[in-house]
């Protein structure tokens, strides 16, 4: 499997390098090698995340994947983005995910039913999305080469300046989108609450997961799954 991964990554790898005429692709610097290796680890972890049969392991492999992405940002000198990535995704999103898993069903060992008939449809969508993203990125940054020796191009100051000078509109549009999602989540969870009996106290704070509370009565049998 590792061979297939490295082949896949090498296939996408040369595109930005080959176009940048002045930089030799055959004599990579240490940072470039590290970037490629971390990329391999990230890709591998992502594959394991979606293929493993153990639910909680999938969440933990997701930590490795997201952490790998953060390291890639670091290698590209985008320190601020890297720490925000860790803070939001590893520190909050994965914790929320684990919380949801543990609240509902988190058997130790394999869960044979943790699969769906949509495997091939999901693979198609994933490959299509990845192809579109790779195409866009490669097309946009064809000849760009980050000068790692100069002043950090991704420092907090540079990121903030570019975000609030050039990209204010997308930033604000995204924040409105997030707000809409938040309001939607609250509306949905309040509706679910009105339908069922009132959830236990300790779950009230996490409005998104309150729909899962009704299933939590079955969580006590999760140890018996092995």
């Amino acid at each position: 499997m590792t061979l297939a991964i490295s082949a896949a990554l090498l296939a996408t790898g040369p595109a930005p390098g080959a176009a940048a005429g002045t930089h030799g692709f055959l004599s990579p610097t240490g940072v470039e090698i590290a970037f490629l290796l971390v990329g391999l680890v990230t890709f591998g972890a992502a594959l394991v995340t979606v293929t493993t049969r153990q639910l909680v392991h999938a969440a933990l492999w997701l930590v490795v994947t997201l952490g790998g992405l953060a390291v890639e940002y670091l290698l590209l000198t985008a320190e601020f983005i890297a720490w925000v990535q860790v803070l939001i995704y590893v520190g909050s999103v994965v914790v929320l995910l684990l919380f949801g898993l543990m609240l509902t069903r988190a058997p130790i060992g394999r869960s044979p039913d943790a699969d769906s008939g949509n495997r091939w449809a999901a693979l198609t969508v994933a490959v299509a999305a990845a192809a579109a993203l790779v195409w866009v990125v490669v097309d946009a940054f064809r000849t760009t080469w980050i000068d790692l020796d100069g002043p950090a191009a991704g420092s907090t100051e540079a990121t903030g300046a570019s975000l609030f000078q050039n990209w204010v509109l997308p930033f604000e549009a995204l924040s409105v989108l997030l707000l809409a999602a938040l309001v939607g989540a609250i509306v949905l969870s309040r509706k679910a609450k009105a339908d069922s009996s009132s959830p236990p106290m300790n779950a009230q704070a996490l409005t998104e997961s309150s729909h899962a509370v009704t299933e939590s009565s079955g969580s006590s049998e999760q140890e018996g799954a092995r």
Partner: protein, 322 residues
């Protein structure tokens, strides 16, 4: 060669601090708690007032059998203590104890975000331990840990953002360079919110619902023995060092002091950290444990609005004085 030596020396110093300060705080806790409760505490180990009690404890832990429950997820169970402990070591690298480049492990451009992000990762260790133990009490402890983290991460971030706004930078040495004495009253609400939320993130009393011994034995750590259990304990005390150090740096002016800040700045940092650590111990002895719903209520209805108000105040004052 000189650079390599410099880096190695810094790492060594941070590592030594990481190994000693938590033990010092642990020993202080033994003694302070004992005296507050009208006892003497450890008196025999080492001779003088039981100073070597924690070393003796460490030796005891090392001798114990390392048990992994039969139903547990072996690898994750064994990995969890490392995940809980290592982030605090990383955070210590970024905390400046004196002025200048020489008094910080590594100057990090987005230091505030770095420390908060990495501290959040440490909680994953408790979650892994809680799930992998195959024990109902552990699972409940893990759940409570997650709920607590999600509730208290937000006020912590918001108050740290308030300081960053006041200083106009997110680098920890940069914040200290910009510090003025009148920040103390200006950011006092933020300081209290940050400290309380940090205590909750460390699961220290009165926020120790995730390890409430009277109902769920010891929460996520119930099944751990020997060295791995000791590592979790060390993570808790390293967490106290980190939290007190961070509160000092962000809100109390770090190495700034009424006098002697030029040469002896690091003494001020250590002194303030020690006072805060004493406060942490004091709170443990004084307050009863908060119930889970009280915990959540405190975070969402009190700390989050307070931190938002602090951000608004910071913004207004910042605009006015410019």
């Amino acid at each position: 060669m000189n650079d390599v030596l410099d880096v190695a020396l810094r790492l060594l110093v941070v590592f030594v601090v990481f190994l000693t300060l938590p033990l010092v705080i642990g020993q202080t806790e033994h003694k302070v708690m004992a005296h507050m409760q009208g006892r003497l505490g450890p008196m025999y180990a080492g001779g003088f007032h039981g100073w070597a009690q924690l070393i003796a404890d460490g030796v005891k832990f090392a001798q114990k059998e390392d048990v992994v429950p039969a139903g547990a997820d072996r690898r994750i169970f064994q990995l969890a203590p490392a995940v809980a402990l290592l982030p605090y070591l990383l955070v210590l690298l970024a905390i400046p104890i004196g002025p200048g480049e020489g008094a910080v492990g590594q100057v990090i451009d987005a230091g505030v975000f770095f420390v908060l992000a990495v501290m959040g990762v440490g909680v994953l260790g408790s979650l892994m331990a809680g799930w992998a133990s195959a024990n109902k009490f552990s699972l409940l402890g893990g759940l409570r840990t997650a709920a607590q983290l999600l509730a208290y991460e937000l006020p912590m971030l918001l108050t740290a953002a308030s300081v960053a706004m006041a200083a106009g930078t997110v680098s920890l040495p940069g914040i200290l360079d910009a510090f003025e004495w009148w920040w103390l009253p200006w950011q006092i609400v933020g300081a209290i919110v940050f400290f309380v939320a940090g205590l909750a993130e460390l699961q220290r009393p009165p926020f120790d619902m995730p390890v409430a011994d009277s109902e769920i034995i010891f929460g996520a750590y119930t099944e751990y023995t020997g060295l791995r259990f000791a590592l979790f304990l060390l993570a808790e005390y390293a967490g106290i060092v980190v939290l007190c150090g961070l509160t000092t740096v962000l809100f109390l002016g770090g190495w700034h002091g009424p006098w002697g800040a030029d040469g002896l700045g690091w003494v001020w940092t250590l002194l303030k950290t020690a006072v805060l650590a004493f406060l942490v111990i004091w709170l443990r002895v004084t307050y009863p444990r908060l119930r889970e719903d009280q915990l959540q209520k405190l975070a969402w209805t009190l700390l989050v609005p307070l931190s938002l108000a602090q951000i608004a105040l910071t913004g207004i004052v910042k605009v006015v004085i410019q």
